[in-house]
């Protein structure tokens, strides 16, 4: 019952995370919130799967992490974009707009 939750392909999730962090450094929970906001509650991923994605992105050097203090004085791990990450985001955004334009064309003409 209810809305179908589409599965996010791995690459798309990475892109969303990078975009979310481009607005400023944030901890994992906050990233989840931002993505939620950005996609207007439609793409509600199983929250925990965000973390393997974050770790993978960190391993690729696109974000870096350090421990900090949250707004409500708790210890949290903050992530922020690196320069390589910013570059990667631009690349991914360009790819995505090409892809969606192409798909849109096909869908309109069909």
């Amino acid at each position: 019952m209810g809305k179908q939750k589409p599965e996010l392909p791995q690459g798309t999730l990475d892109m969303l995370v990078l975009k979310a962090l481009s607005l400023g450094p944030m901890h994992g929970y906050g990233v989840g919130q931002r993505i939620g906001q950005l996609a207007e509650e439609m793409l509600k991923v199983e929250e925990g799967t965000l973390y393997p994605a974050l770790y993978r992105i960190e391993r690729r050097g696109w974000i870096e992490s350090e421990w900090g203090v949250s707004e409500n004085n708790r210890r949290a791990r903050y992530y922020k974009l690196t320069r390589a990450g910013r570059k990667q985001l631009n690349v991914e955004e360009a790819n995505w707009s090409h892809l969606s334009a192409a798909i849109g064309k096909v869908l309109r003409t069909a």
Binding site: H27, G28, Y29, G32, E46, E47, G48, T49, Y51, P52, A53, Y55, R56, E58, R59, R60, G61, S70, N72, R74, R75, A76, R77, A84
Partner: protein
């Protein structure tokens, strides 16, 4: 850089796995608490809020595994697991492990040793500043590249002053000197160097100082000496006060002004004299040598430092331009002159090229040995993998990926090869020690600084890794093929194919071993031949002894008298058949060369004129040396100073200038305009090295061409060693203070020029032996495996009435088949290689039948012996048990 952060995270996971786990837990804790609070804000109760938060988070076990993997833990953990598993597996089969480690150690150890030779002689840079900018500058004759390749002093000065590409050009020469300190004197080898020698090299002293260019101005004006660190320790007891004191060199007083650093000993790799003297002191060091004024003579070796921004080929081109100028200005000497730049260390380009060829050949040989070892290992691993078929099939069935499985098998083989590599490194150290101990000692002080430096260790490391991956890859891929159903059953067809693969491998091994052994056999025969027949004189029953009367202060008159008296006394000794003097023996280090051309012809241009090896010998020399004369006569007492100039030439000389005629009585020009008459023609021999092309040689009369140092050669009736004491005694009677050196039998004298051949024979011989052992192990392995696979078949046959003989026949047929195939393949390859190897052999054809036959028989015997044990085991098969396993 992506891989860097990747590596960093993986290393952290490897070393601080617990910390990483804790961090993940903490991070998620925070997340869940935030979500809980959010839920409470939305109106849920605390328990509900928390419950919903946890649920919303997701399947934490699965996510945790994923996270651990992404944090880098996955790979590190599995590699560690694989290593431990591999180690246990290897321990479970000690036989296999021992054989594998032995094969690897032998193969890699041999490679390590040869590579350390290459590293020392060709790769290691000199301990000077920016060694890559320093090059040896050789003066060559462009149309006659095998001619002498060193510089004269006047040419040096011109090149030094006129070139635009070198920031400094220096020269040096080797010279023996008699050095006295605190009463004891000794003949040592030293360098005569130009004043800028240390400056060009950029070398500073360890104690005291080195020369300044000013100290090389003015003949005999600055008697100063710099000694090497080793010399300072050995001869002067590492006494710091010796700096500034005076020592006697050739009877003259010199001041010792400095000691070089421990690792510095000149620019040469093989020959390391112990002290340096400015070139202007030359008259005191080499009183009979006109080394500074003559533009045509001079064995000065030069090296230079490139100016910044200039590379070697540009420098060579510009220097050749200078050469052309000099050729125009002094055509009689410099016509056809050119310059060649090479990295320093091996004196002359011809030696360097020879060393490169030699090391290359050796490296190829040990690579072959390693290949054989790896083939062994690949086939052993194949067998092992097939015996673990069931285990692998079960793993695949419960979900292991093929990559994971192959990685585990590969880890095992890399573990094996790295351990083998370490053992090989140890073996290499041991082999290096043996080689160093076997280098014949010479008066000339040839040294080889062989050691296993970082280059060798890196080489061994990468070799070990590559072999591990190389021989492990195919078995790993093959074994991990997910052919589950077939694997879980007994698969006879598969095992037959495996046996075929191993057959091929062993056949290849046998072929390679045969090739190596034949090469070894040919080299050994070459050596025998060279020893007995090569040199052109008879090395048996003769002793030699050298003196340097010039260093002792004798003038020419005194020297000649000494020579005459001594040789007379020695001839009178019982047990001595004949005795004579020579200024140097054939196949000694260093030789004199003169330009020669026949009477009646115009003097050829300097670039075309032929050189002859020159020796001065006394009467009876050819009898004493055992060199037959094919025409004419020996020198006599009448061939002395004031008489007509006479010479004995060798056959090549005679055939070059007067082909088909009798050379006796003909005359030729020697060096300047002197006409010399030929009075005898001697049988050809070797004069500089065993590998040389035929050379012109001319022997002058020692009475007419005095030499202040000479070697006495005495042919004895019996063992020459017994006559040594009495000959020494005769010297002592004539002059108690005259030092004699290089006292040995003529056979021992040949040890140095024969050393390369000896070394090659020893090397190839031992590698061939190793190859044989490895091949025997290979055959044994295949035969044993095949028998174990055919156990059922054998059982059935025996049950049906086969006798022991029949079973033997079955097994041996297999073995003989492999052996014959391998030998045929090997013989074909050996024949194929014959053309390549011909140049390296003396007096032995590269397809010498007796060598081929003997070695083939040897290999066949060893191969068949290796088949015997499996064959016996086959006959012990109990048919009842074999059939039960059907």
């Amino acid at each position: 850089m992506e891989w860097l952060s990747n590596l960093a995270m993986r290393m952290r996971a490897l070393r601080r796995g617990d910390d990483v786990h804790r961090e993940i837990a903490e991070e998620w804790q925070f997340h869940i608490e935030q979500r809980t609070e959010e839920n409470i804000r939305r109106g849920m109760s605390p328990e509900e809020a928390r419950c919903q938060a946890v649920q919303h988070f997701g399947n934490s076990g699965y996510i945790k595994d994923l996270s651990w993997d992404e944090r880098g833990g996955g790979l590190a953990e599995t590699i560690w697991q694989d290593l431990r598993f591999g180690y246990r597996q290897l321990r479970k089969s000690p036989g296999f492990t021992c054989v594998a480690l032995l094969s690897l150690a032998l193969g890699i150890g041999a490679n390590a040793m040869i590579f350390s030779l290459i590293s020392t002689i060709l790769l290691r840079p000199l301990p000077i500043t920016h060694p890559e900018r320093v090059f040896a500058v050789h003066q060559i004759r462009q149309r006659n590249l095998s001619a002498m390749q060193s510089m004269s002093y006047p040419n040096y000065k011109d090149v030094r002053d006129r070139n635009e590409v070198l920031s400094g050009l220096a020269v040096f020469r080797f010279a023996p000197m008699s050095v006295s300190h605190n009463g004891s004197s000794e003949r040592m080898w030293g360098y005569l160097v130009s004043g800028n020698y240390f400056e060009v090299l950029g070398v500073e002293a360890f104690l005291g100082r080195t020369f300044t260019p000013e100290e090389d101005r003015g003949v005999n004006a600055h008697p100063v000496v710099v000694v090497s660190y080793g010399c300072w320790q050995r001869r002067f007891g590492a006494d710091p006060k010796v700096v500034g004191s005076s020592i006697l060199v050739n009877g003259h007083s010199f001041t010792l002004i400095g000691v070089t650093k421990p690792e510095f000993s000149g620019t040469e790799n093989l020959f390391k004299p112990e002290f340096w003297v400015p070139s202007m002191m030359q008259p005191w060091i080499e009183p009979n040598f006109s080394g500074m004024e003559s533009r045509s003579d001079g064995q000065w070796f030069a090296f230079g430092r490139l100016k910044s921004g200039v590379n070697a080929s540009q420098a060579q081109a510009q220097l050749n331009g200078v050469a052309q100028q000099l050729a125009k200005e002094h055509p009689e000497v410099n016509e056809g002159m050119g310059f060649l730049l090479t990295p320093p260390g091996l004196v002359v380009p011809s030696l360097r090229n020879a060393m490169i060829a030699f090391s290359g050949a050796l490296l190829l040989t040990v690579a072959l040995v390693l290949l054989i070892a790896c083939t062994n290992l690949a086939s052993l691993l194949l067998a092992r993998a097939s015996s673990r078929r069931k285990e692998i099939a079960v793993r695949l069935a419960i979900g292991a990926t093929r990559i994971r499985l192959a990685r585990q098998l590969l880890t095992e083989s890399v573990l094996l090869s790295v351990t083998g590599g370490l053992l090989g490194l140890g073996l290499g150290v041991f082999l290096v020690r043996i080689v160093l101990a076997s280098i014949p000692a010479t008066d000339v002080g040839i040294t080889l600084d062989l050691r296993l430096d970082w280059r060798v260790v890196c080489f061994v490391g990468s070799l070990a890794l590559l072999t591990g991956i190389g021989f492990g890859l195919i078995p790993a891929l093959q074994a991990s093929r997910p052919d589950l159903v077939a694997s879980l059953q007994e698969n006879a067809a598969g095992s037959r194919r495996r046996v075929r693969v191993r057959n091929v491998l062993v056949t290849m091994q046998l072929a390679l071993s045969l090739v190596l052994l034949i090469t070894a056999g040919l080299t050994v025969r070459s050596l025998q031949h060279a020893e007995l027949l090569g040199p052109g004189f008879n090395p048996q029953h003769a002793l030699i002894m050298s003196v340097d009367v010039g260093l002792q202060g004798y003038d020419q008159n005194k020297g000649q008298k000494f020579y005459e008296q001594l040789v007379e006394h020695v001839r009178a000794l019982p047990g001595v058949q004949s005795a004579a003097w020579a200024n140097s023996l054939p196949l000694s280090v260093g030789s004199d060369l003169n330009d020669v051309y026949p009477e009646g012809e115009a003097r050829p241009a300097a670039g075309d004129i032929l050189e002859a090896i020159t020796k001065s010998v006394g009467p009876d020399y050819f009898a004493a040396a055992g060199t037959p004369l094919v025409a004419g006569r020996e020198f006599t007492e009448n061939d002395k100073e004031g008489g007509p100039h006479v010479a004995v030439i060798n056959e090549t000389f005679a055939q070059t200038f007067w082909p088909g005629q009798n050379a006796v009585g003909k005359r030729f020009h020697d060096g300047g305009e002197t006409l010399v008459e030929v009075v005898g023609v001697a049988r050809n021999g070797k004069y500089q090295s065993y590998g040389e092309d035929p050379k012109l040689a001319v022997f002058f009369s020692l009475a007419q061409r005095y030499s202040s140092s000479a070697t006495l050669i005495a042919r004895t009736k019996d063992n020459p060693k017994s006559a040594i004491a009495s000959v020494r005694n005769e010297v002592h009677l004539l002059d108690a203070n005259l030092p004699v050196y290089d006292v040995k039998t003529l056979k021992e004298h040949l040890q140095l020029p024969l050393f390369p051949l000896h070394a090659a024979a020893a090397a190839v011989g031992s590698f061939g032996l190793v190859a044989l052992i490895l091949a025997a192990i290979g055959i044994y392995g295949v035969m044993a495996y095949s028998v174990s696979q055919r156990t059922q078949e054998i059982g059935i046959r025996m049950a049906l009435g086969a006798r022991t003989i029949d079973v033997w026949g079955m097994v041996l047929r297999h073995g003989i088949g492999i052996t014959v195939a391998g030998m045929v393949l090997g013989l074909l390859c050996a024949f194929g290689l014959a053309r390549v190897v011909t140049n390296l052999l003396y007096g032995v054809s590269a397809t010498d039948p007796s060598t081929f036959i003997l070695i083939s028989i040897l290999l066949a015997i060893v191969a068949l012996m290796a088949c015997v044990i499996p064959a016996r085991r086959a006959t012990r098969v109990d048919p009842v048990i074999a059939i039960k396993n059907l």
